[in-house]
C-alpha cells in the first residue's frame, strides 16, 4: 500500500500529535474520568493507524518491525501481571491494591468532589501497562493487515 497525497500526509502529520496526546491523557486519567488503558490505547493506536494509512505500509515497514510491536505488547502484559503479583507480595492477595494509603506515587485516598491524580493506587500503573499493550496490539493488528494486503497487491 503506497502513501496518499501530500494534503493527506500533511494533515495527518499535524493532527497526529494531538491524537496521541489526547490518548495519553485518557490513559493517564483512567482512574478519574471515563476511559482508561484500553480506550486511551485505542485512541493512540488509531492515531498511528492514521499515519500508516497516510504514508503507506511500505514506508511504515521501514520505520518499525512487527516483532518490536509484539515485544512491546508482551512488556505491557508482563507489566500488568507483575503489578498484580506485587499484590501478593505487599498486600497479601493477588491484585491487591497495596499502594493506596501509602506515601508512594498514586498513594492518595480519593475525596468526593475533587479529582486528584495522585490517587488510585495500582490502578494507574495497570492502566499504563494496558495502554502500552493496547497501543502495540491494536496498531500491530492494523499494521500486519496492511502488510498482508500490500503483499496481495504485489502478487496480483
Amino acid at each position: 500500500m503506497n502513501g496518499m497525497t501530500k494534503i493527506v500526509k500533511t494533515i495527518a502529520g499535524i493532527s497526529f500529535p494531538f491524537i496521541v496526546i489526547y490518548g495519553l491523557y485518557v490513559i493517564a486519567h483512567g482512574h478519574l474520568t471515563p476511559g482508561g488503558g484500553f480506550q486511551g490505547g485505542a485512541v493512540v493506536a488509531s492515531g498511528l493507524a492514521l499515519i500508516l494509512v497516510a504514508y503507506g505500509s511500505k514506508w511504515a515497514a521501514t520505520k518499525i518491525k512487527e516483532h518490536d510491536l509484539s515485544l512491546l505488547e508482551s512488556v505491557g502484559a508482563i507489566g500488568f501481571i507483575t503489578v498484580a503479583f506485587f499484590g501478593i507480595l505487599f498486600g497479601g492477595v493477588f491484585f491487591s491494591n497495596f499502594i493506596v494509603g501509602t506515601d508512594l506515587l498514586f498513594g492518595g485516598i480519593p475525596l468526593a468532589g475533587a479529582a486528584d491524580i495522585n490517587t488510585g493506587g495500582t490502578l494507574p500503573l495497570m492502566n499504563f501497562a494496558v495502554g502500552l499493550k493496547v497501543i502495540a496490539g491494536l496498531f500491530g493488528i492494523v499494521f500486519i493487515m496492511a502488510l498482508a494486503i500490500s503483499k496481495k497487491e504485489e502478487s496480483a
Binding site: 478519574l32 471515563p34 480506550q39 498482508a148
Partner: protein, 114 residues
Amino acid sequence: MIANIPYLAVVGLIIIGLSAVIFKKNLIKIIIGITIIQSGVNLFLITLGYREGSTAPIWTSSPGGVMAFPVPQALTLTSIVIGVAVTALMLSLVIHLYRHHGTLDVRKMGGDDQ
C-alpha cells in the same frame, strides 16, 4: 412505554445480526452481523445499569443525585474489548481465505478436499 424502547432496540439488533449471520453469504457481512449482535448485547447491558435522570458514575466529580450503575458499564467495556479481539481475529482469517479463494462468497469457495 418509552422506557422499553432500548429493549426493543436490543431485540431488533440481535435479530438483524442473527439474520445477517444466517442468510448472508459474504464473509465480511457475517462478521458485521456478529458485531451487530454484539452491539445489541452491549446495549442491553448498558440499559440495565441506567437509572432515570442519573449522571455518569464518577464519584469524585459527581454533581450529586443518582448515578448510573457502574458495574454494567465495566462489563460492557470488557465485552467491547473482547469484541475487538474477536473481530480482528475473524478479519485476519478472512484475509487469508480471500487470498486463497479470491472471493468472499461462501458459495464460490468450492471444497476440493475429500
